[in-house]
Symmetry: C2
Subunit: 711 residues, 2 copies
């Protein structure tokens, strides 16, 4: 029996749930703000004094990739460490068919060889200012949700603009504690970033989708860049030293990075909405796309290559969201959320610290999400654009939106389309349209049009999609009397949007030109626009703003009950987590060790006969053959850190602030960290600092670079 | 641009639709009854006189595999030709891990070497009798749908039993023309069938899922059996001769076999129900299972091997149903159905030949399906058992059903559970439970329990699944307070149903023993039983019987309007189709030739570097190397025959009744034949008679067998 459970564990895993909420009082929980670091908790649990200097250095050494991950300075010459998968799209952009850096890897011996990465922008957090009072003052007299939303947006824009002028830095106002507080985050920007080293994809992405979210792992998931200023290597005031010893079992560690999004403080009703409405739709969408790409891939290697990235992204999302959904479907976890909410509500009402002026915020949220539920799928398909998603239609939709918004007076436009922002919009629309190959484009569009057909049902006057009626005239314009696949082929083959002159004529011609266009992509985008627009307004007015206000009230009540020793949900801003290095035990009793070794990577490849995605690069095979591979060097390891997507590329440091590892994944049991913390089995998966240095030194023979780490 | 359309064609194919219904008057349409063969149509279109002797020989040479395909006698010594994929489960049953006949193939040099196939039963149609009057007489005074259904079932059982006693043959009453007629089909049975020859799977299933429903193709999709009687080769009175020349372009041909199911005569409302309710749910179910098996396969070769068959079946269904759904979403095709229905209704009402005594049958059907729609998914999940589908739960459900039925008086039981049938039921339940590996079993059950969770929504008192409320107490019993995957592991690990003694104790102990059981699989089956049972009754009373009566009325009206020159929908009974050999042109102008060659198989494998499923067997590679491969022999070809699933293994004969090919697939454009005929692009895909003979002779060097074909 044991044999199969082991196999199944990676799969239909079930979660070991710590029963008593009390266990979590001293748990390694929290994605803490640098403005409110958990120094007291760390001291109590680990006896470690984390100094303000260490935290300041850690904060300012950290970097954020625009929309995709974390990184840090690891040398005085501006060397930047991140994950292979965080840098992947940049490296792909530097590759050509003839010189495929993704496949071959890359190393620049000298500064002059380092490759400029066009468009890559990294930011480092320098300062945090609480601006809650300013934001709240602006909206306190607002009479409606609509007015509040508009007024707040304007106030935030003003705070940002003023701060930028004053500090000469990029400044973002970030809602924290679901609107309970507003913080101003001020960043130094790096726009000249160059590629220094990246391993072969078969090393950096070793194990591919099957190993993704798994452990033990064997990935050298690293890429090194360098920041430049005035064409010279940037010499940062703050960077991280490299640990000589590397991570050890049981050791106290800190991780600092940019977790993207959690739902820890969502109400139970909101989580149930996610469990019953949001995730089931997402999963169904991912599955249909995964099947589409898999089937397309199966024809030949060329097809496989062409959709490999899309397919992996979908598989990654499906696994990730599937893990969260399974967590939400686990009664014991949901019970913990119910218990916590009941306790908070009881205490808050007893202490009379809930603003009940507009009703009970928990009840309000339950009502808001349940009333929104029947509109959600239509919102995703129309306003989210999923019913027509493909590169051509994404651009067509943007052009139509631009034309409609700019036909209105400035005051009535959405934030991104006011005169002040228009230049940026126009630039985006004019940009070269990087279309997928036409067959892939038609494949995606056709499948998405089928999805709309399959999810809708015949109704009086058209087809219904949840509570939304798609009128027959709209359907006629969408499908043009054709089957979904025939319509997709028609749009993709006949659109002129690839022609920048034509796009320009539409952008300059405004709504009249767009309405007069006979381009099938534009006509399709126009067809879905009215429903998309209605749902956007509805969401903003009936959902986003009421939720914002009710969640802010709950956040304030939570502060009043529990004090400020709580952390806000992740919002893609810099956070600090603490915890320890340490393995775990699977449900079936399998022990997962705290670290793996370089030799394990070679063995893992052999077990799979070096078949893709286990086709470990020749450089590693050669190094082993020639006796120079650091076989006993630790390669990956795990910690019980509270991390989530976006933390990829986060540095992990020891009590001295020295790099001992680099976060690159979480195990499958960590996916529930989206909405609840667990340290029994949930683990961050990291590249070991020693594995990084030794692989550079002996496998890649780039000693100079290995020596630069931490210096 | 052309390059991509070609690639896309296999995929997001769209259908070239013949515009005018008039074109179809002389089309090669129809799955004709041997009791009403289209000799007149053939004579008119092809100038060929098909003699009664030819038809009689063809009919009696044909064989049916119990639930899976067609075959025919091709020698005077009882040699039987069918497809590799039709014989596959039989060959797998004869294989062991040490002697894997599926992988290696098999050939018996002498009768003594031929392998008995336990449980394999083939039947050959000997006689057709119209018994419509008898059946209708029985029900004409019935007062309710319920009474009519019961009375008819009893009358049919009596006709079958009497006929069997009289003729000494198996006799089945088959509803034709959707209940417009009832025919008695009398069969000779063959229960001693032995394996003679099967090629390697990599030949018989060359190209796997990617090539499935594709053309050009390169499959030797054949397996040869032999019928025995009294331990001697059976010498059939009727068998098919082998054509010396084989199929030629443009040649007139007949195909005789057992198409499983078409919906040609469904009303438009019924097709819309299928388009909007039935197929979307099916597709969504197939996609989630495909993703599940793909992900499981991706871990290692052993996993891949273990779910390969399940995965292919799902991919096959997904492609097949997806093709039908795309057809139903093609407005021009649906318009042809609307036009045809409008014409029939108009003429029938004008001629006053519609039985309107219980309302307009078209309107009735529209009402029936629309009222059933909100129950359909729950019916599939509960009564269809899909919410718990896996081998253990299938057996558990059968035991619970048996216990409940046998607790009732004989008269109140469902047909299969009356005393007369109980022995057979008990035997089935006692049979060894061939469980999947426990990890696969838990994987399937867990995913199915998740499906139930994802498709249902919170409702007052439980969760709703369409119009069905699943009460909280039922949910508690289904999930037992666990997540879907944890519950699945629990059931699969802890059930005792694998123990035949325990099963026997439940079967003998009746409902009391079943209710008292603490077996988790039995408890789960009991939990879903009440809803399953209610939906079964509801379907039978409110859907099946009303549809039967309304469709029978429409069928009679159709006879009255168009005479009896029409054919009934496929019902897995023997049918005759006519047409011609001939290639076709894809939407993008690509010409698909009428035949492919042996050399093409080797080239196709080379193009794909012999990677699975293009890893053509060594025997073919060796034959080519040694210069003995019949490189120029035609291997596969296409005809415009009106065929569908179940026709696999059907012989294709020329005007002289000689075998020129063997049906093994349809192209992707043929999938719409489910509900509408098309001869522009829809094609049957066949193995060429010359390819079969030459491959046996020169690649496999089994001359004796090659010589026996048709002799």
């Amino acid at each position: 029996m044991n044999r199969w459970i082991k196999r199944a564990a990676l799969f239909a895993f079930s979660l070991v749930v710590a029963a008593a909420a009390a266990d979590f009082a001293s748990a390694d929980e929290g994605m803490w703000l640098f403005s409110n670091p958990p120094v007291k908790q760390i001291k109590e649990k680990y006896g470690v004094e984390v100094s303000p200097e260490l935290l300041d250095n850690l904060q300012k050494s950290c970097l954020k990739f625009a929309n995709s991950g974390s990184a840090s300075f690891v040398s005085s010459d501006g060397l930047i460490l991140t994950n292979h998968h965080v840098g992947l799209s940049t490296v792909a952009g530097l590759s050509t068919k003839e010189n495929d850096l993704v496949a071959k890897g890359f190393y620049a011996e000298n500064y002059a060889d380092e490759l400029k990465c066009p468009g890559l922008k990294l930011i480092a957090l320098q300062e945090i200012v609480d601006v809650t009072d300013k934001v709240e003052a602006a909206t306190k007299d607002c009479k409606s949700f609509e007015e509040a939303e508009k007024t707040r947006a304007d106030a935030i824009k003003k705070i940002e603009t003023d701060a930028k002028a004053e500090k000469g830095m990029r400044c973002d106002v970030v809602p924290m504690y679901q609107g309970g507080q507003y913080h101003l985050y001020c960043y130094k920007e790096f726009t000249d970033v160059r590629l220094v080293f990246t391993p072969e994809e078969s090393v950096g992405f070793f194990g591919g989708d099957p190993d993704n979210f798994g452990y033990p792992r064997y990935n050298l998931d690293i890429t090194l860049f360098r920041a430049y200023e005035n064409d010279k290597p940037y010499r940062p005031e703050h960077f991280l030293k490299w640990s000589e010893a590397g991570a050890k079992d049981g050791e106290f560690v800190l991780v600092s990075g940019h977790p993207a999004r959690t739902n820890r403080f969502n109400t139970v009703a909101d989580l149930q909405y996610q469990r019953d409405v949001y995730y089931p739709h997402m999963m169904s969408k991912y599955r249909r796309r995964e099947v589409l790409y898999q089937a397309f891939s199966s024809f030949n290697d060329e097809n496989k290559r062409r959709v490999a990235t899309d397919l992996f992204k979908i598989q990654n999302s499906r696994k990730n969201r599937g893990g969260i959904l399974l967590g939400l479907q686990t009664p014991a976890l949901m019970q913990r959320k119910i218990d916590a909410e009941n306790e908070l509500r009881k205490l808050a009402l007893e202490k009379n610290v809930v603003d009940l002026s507009a009703g009970d915020p928990w009840d309000n949220i339950a009502k808001t999400v349940s009333e929104w539920a029947p509109y959600y799928v239509a919102h995703d398909l129309f306003e989210g654009g999923e019913a027509v998603a493909c590169t051509v239609m994404n651009r067509a939709r943007a052009i139509v939106r631009y034309a409609v918004e700019t036909s209105k007076p400035d005051a009535e436009r959405s934030a991104g389309y006011k005169e002040i922002a228009l230049e940026e919009r126009r630039k985006e629309l004019a940009e070269t349209l990087k279309r997928d190959d036409a067959d892939i484009e038609a494949l995606k569009l056709g499948d998405n049009l089928s999805m709309l057909y399959e999810l809708s049902r015949p109704a009086e006057g058209g087809r219904s999609l949840g509570a939304v009626l798609v009128p027959q005239a709209t359907l006629d314009a969408i499908y043009d009397g054709k089957s979904p696949s025939a319509r997709a082929t028609d749009v993709v083959l006949n659109t002129k949007l690839g022609d920048s002159e034509y796009r320009k004529s539409l952008i300059d011609g405004g709504l009249d030109a767009v309405k007069a266009s006979d381009d099938p992509a534009i006509k399709l985008a126009l067809a879905i626009y009215p429903i998309a627009s209605d749902l956007r307004d509805m969401y903003s007015k009936n959902v986003a703003e009421p939720l914002r206000q009710d969640y802010a009230k709950i956040a304030k009540a939570r502060f009043a009950v529990y004090g400020d020793t709580i952390y806000p949900d992740a919002t893609f801003t810099l956070r600090l987590t603490y915890g320890k290095v340490g393995g775990y035990t699977e449900d079936d009793g399998t022990v997962r060790p705290f670290e793996t070794y370089v030799k394990g990577a070679l063995d893992h490849a052999r077990e799979h006969n070096f078949v893709d995605p286990f086709d470990l690069a020749q450089s590693w095979v050669d190094a082993e053959k020639e006796g120079r591979a650091p076989l006993d060097a630790p390669l990956n390891f795990v910690t019980d850190q509270d991390i989530i997507g976006g933390n990829s590329g986060s540095p992990c440091v020891n009590a001295n602030g020295e790099v001992v590892g680099l976060v690159f994944d979480g195990n499958i049991q960590s996916l529930v960290l989206n909405f609840i913390f667990d340290e029994v089995q949930a683990r961050a998966v990291l590249v070991h600092s020693t594995g990084i240095r030794e692989a550079l030194r002996t496998i890649y023979k780039v000693e100079k670079l290995a020596d630069e780490l931490g210096k």
